[in-house]
């Protein structure tokens, strides 16, 4: 991301302030995600009650997995930024070339802000609800427990930063693909399926059949949810945290490089066809 940090920070914060203006959407999102969180918990709990064999996660780890997933849902790269799509459609994206910035870094900043704005608005109330309100209401079994240990908390924080960057790199790939496909509707659908399934959002990845595990363990989307949530709950023990972080970092860098490569071609097309 070269030496563009100053302008990049400015772009992130501007985009962030823009998105924070939509408070009603944030509130509605909070309510929806609360509802889905409750449903997912009930389904998974029913599975656990009926299980005859020991499972790779215990119920409290599952509960943490679900609540963190609901809190951080907006950070998953499951959709493209509508503003960005509109700009591609009317050709305004080409004007981003008027700024003396590396285009990939510039767009990375815009996309990062898009990815992290919603979770801060929805995620914090969600965590408060699941960690504080639920026990007060006598539903302590279903509450989000604190991180398993200090090292789990530190590892979680680091993996969350990496998850945000990874989510940005994936979203940015989708954004760049709009330069060819323009509508982005198909891209949204593909992303939603890929991301919600392979990040662990729908079913926690360790609960998938054993024969799928080798594949699930090596694909990048688990860095978005599975890795941070399991570090948080101690399901990934502290000794393995560094290796997992490294795994996510490598995927993040690979996707950034891929994005840069494709963008190079996209820009060539843009400057030839005129946006």
């Amino acid at each position: 991301m070269s030496a563009n940090i100053g302008p990049l920070v400015a772009v992130v914060s501007a985009r962030y302030r823009t998105l924070l203006q939509y408070r009603a959407a944030a509130f509605a999102g909070f309510a929806t995600q609360l509802f889905w969180g409750a449903i997912r918990l009930m389904i998974l709990a029913a599975f656990f009650a009926a299980a005859t064999e020991p499972q790779p996660m215990d119920l409290s780890q599952i509960v943490a997995y679900v609540w963190l997933g609901q809190a951080l849902l907006g950070m998953l790269p499951w959709n493209v930024d509508a503003d960005f799509r509109a700009q591609v459609r009317d050709g305004t994206v080409a004007y981003d070339l008027l700024r003396p910035l590396d285009l990939y870094s510039y767009w990375f900043g815009r996309t990062l802000a898009f990815r992290v704005a919603a979770p801060t608005l929805r995620g914090i109330p969600m965590v408060l609800f699941a960690m504080v309100l639920l026990p007060l209401a006598g539903l302590g079994d279903w509450a989000l427990t604190p991180p398993a240990s200090a090292s789990a908390f530190a590892g979680f924080a680091a993996s969350l930063v990496l998850a945000a960057m990874l989510a940005t790199a994936v979203t940015l790939l989708a954004h760049i693909s709009l330069l060819w496909t323009i509508s982005g509707v198909g891209m949204d659908r593909i992303l939603t399926v890929l991301v919600t399934v392979f990040s662990g959002l729908i079913v926690p990845l360790p609960l998938f059949p054993d024969w799928l595990q080798p594949f699930l363990n090596w694909q990048p989307f688990r860095g978005l949810a599975d890795v941070p949530y399991r570090i948080y709950s101690g399901n990934i023990p502290p000794a393995e945290i560094a290796g997992e972080l490294f795994f996510v970092l490598v995927w993040m860098i690979a996707l950034v490089l891929l994005g840069r490569l494709i963008l190079l071609r996209g820009v060539r097309r843009m400057v030839v066809q005129g946006g």
Binding site: G6, V11, A14, T18, D90, A94, L97, L98
Partner: protein, 334 residues
């Protein structure tokens, strides 16, 4: 050395041709017929530092294409272009840091942010030193009367307010070259005048080079000494505004107002190619060619016949001149 040097600049777009009807759309899935559109067909010009040049032509003539190439966001198909020693599309980042660009049709401000935050963001993007930024910003705010707008999100601005903010935004980093693509489009009279005053001041006081495209010939008359006319991707005329006018028709109109209706009814302007265009109760309008009959002689004749209350000379509207030029070159909107 000229600040902008353009030689043989050409741009051809390839567009997929759509066949009409459902059958055509179906065939297009398998076999696309491509058609070449020649937006620019070899354009040459120089612009010296500190010039204010008008760039006009009908829609689709290649004005915006030229501006986009000069701004570094579009690659030409052929030709060369040097702006301050840089090739815009090759040295894009260094080039765009030195120029300002305003597109009248679309804002470059952040739609949801207040104006002042857009300015601060540009400071960071262009890495403008704090002191230079403060000076520039305060001067532009004062000049464009932006103080009351600073806290308003851009989406709530009127077109005129938005245009003033856009102009200021394009100049925060102190560019020595400004491209204005239809900056007065859709503006009311007051806003147009404000924009013109500002551009004139910028050019005269700060020696900023300006290349301006417009459809409003009043912009050209008010601002530009030099005008380039483009049509069908070629420069047709490049010279002074007076020269452009003379090229088509060298005619002036003398307007004479009288107090009493009687005088206007009887006045006779005489011969030498003089033409009476209009006569009503208290006013006559007389067309003449100053090369055949000097204005002083014509006025002398009229004074001998009565006492006008007022008289003044009009240029033929440049719109008419340009329309005639377009007709002469058979330029239609494509």
């Amino acid at each position: 050395m000229p600040q902008i040097e353009v030689r043989g600049l050409a741009k051809t777009f390839r567009v997929a041709e759509r066949l009409p009807g459902l059958a055509g759309a179906f065939r297009g899935l398998f076999h696309r017929r491509m058609r070449d559109v020649h937006a620019l067909g070899g354009v040459d010009f120089d612009i010296e530092r500190g010039e204010l040049v008008g760039y006009i032509g009908p829609n689709g003539a290649g004005k915006s294409t030229t501006i986009k190439i000069l701004a570094g966001i579009l690659n030409p198909t052929a030709g060369t272009c040097r702006v301050d020693g840089l090739t815009p599309w090759r040295d894009r980042r260094r080039h765009v840091a030195r120029i300002g660009v305003v597109f009248g049709q679309r804002t470059q401000l952040w739609w949801d942010l207040p104006v002042i935050e857009s300015f601060d963001l540009l400071r960071d993007i262009y890495r403008i030193p704090a002191e230079a930024y403060r000076d520039n910003r305060d001067r532009l705010i004062a000049l464009m009367d932006l103080e009351p707008l600073l806290d308003v999100p851009v989406r709530q601005l009127s077109l005129g307010q938005r245009m003033r903010s856009d102009l200021a935004a394009a100049l925060l980093h102190g560019p020595s070259l400004l491209f204005l693509d239809e900056p007065t489009i859709g503006l009311d009279a007051v806003s147009k005048l404000a924009i013109r005053d500002f551009v004139r001041e910028l050019n005269r006081e700060r020696q900023v080079t300006v290349l301006l495209t417009t459809h409003d010939m009043d912009d050209i008359e008010a601002l530009c000494e030099r005008v380039m006319v483009i049509g069908n991707g070629r420069i047709l005329v490049d010279g002074s505004v007076d020269g452009l006018r003379r090229r088509v028709r060298n005619e002036r109109v003398l307007v004479v107002d009288y107090d009493s209706a009687g005088e206007a009814g009887t006045v006779d302007a005489g011969g030498d190619g003089v033409r009476l265009i209009e006569r009503d109760a208290s006013r006559v309008r007389i067309a003449f060619d100053p090369d055949r009959l000097p204005a002083a002689t014509l006025i002398g004749r009229l004074l001998a016949q009565g006492t006008p209350k007022d008289l003044f000379i009009e240029h033929p509207p440049i719109e008419q001149t340009v329309a005639e030029l377009y007709a002469e070159h058979d330029m239609r909107e494509r």
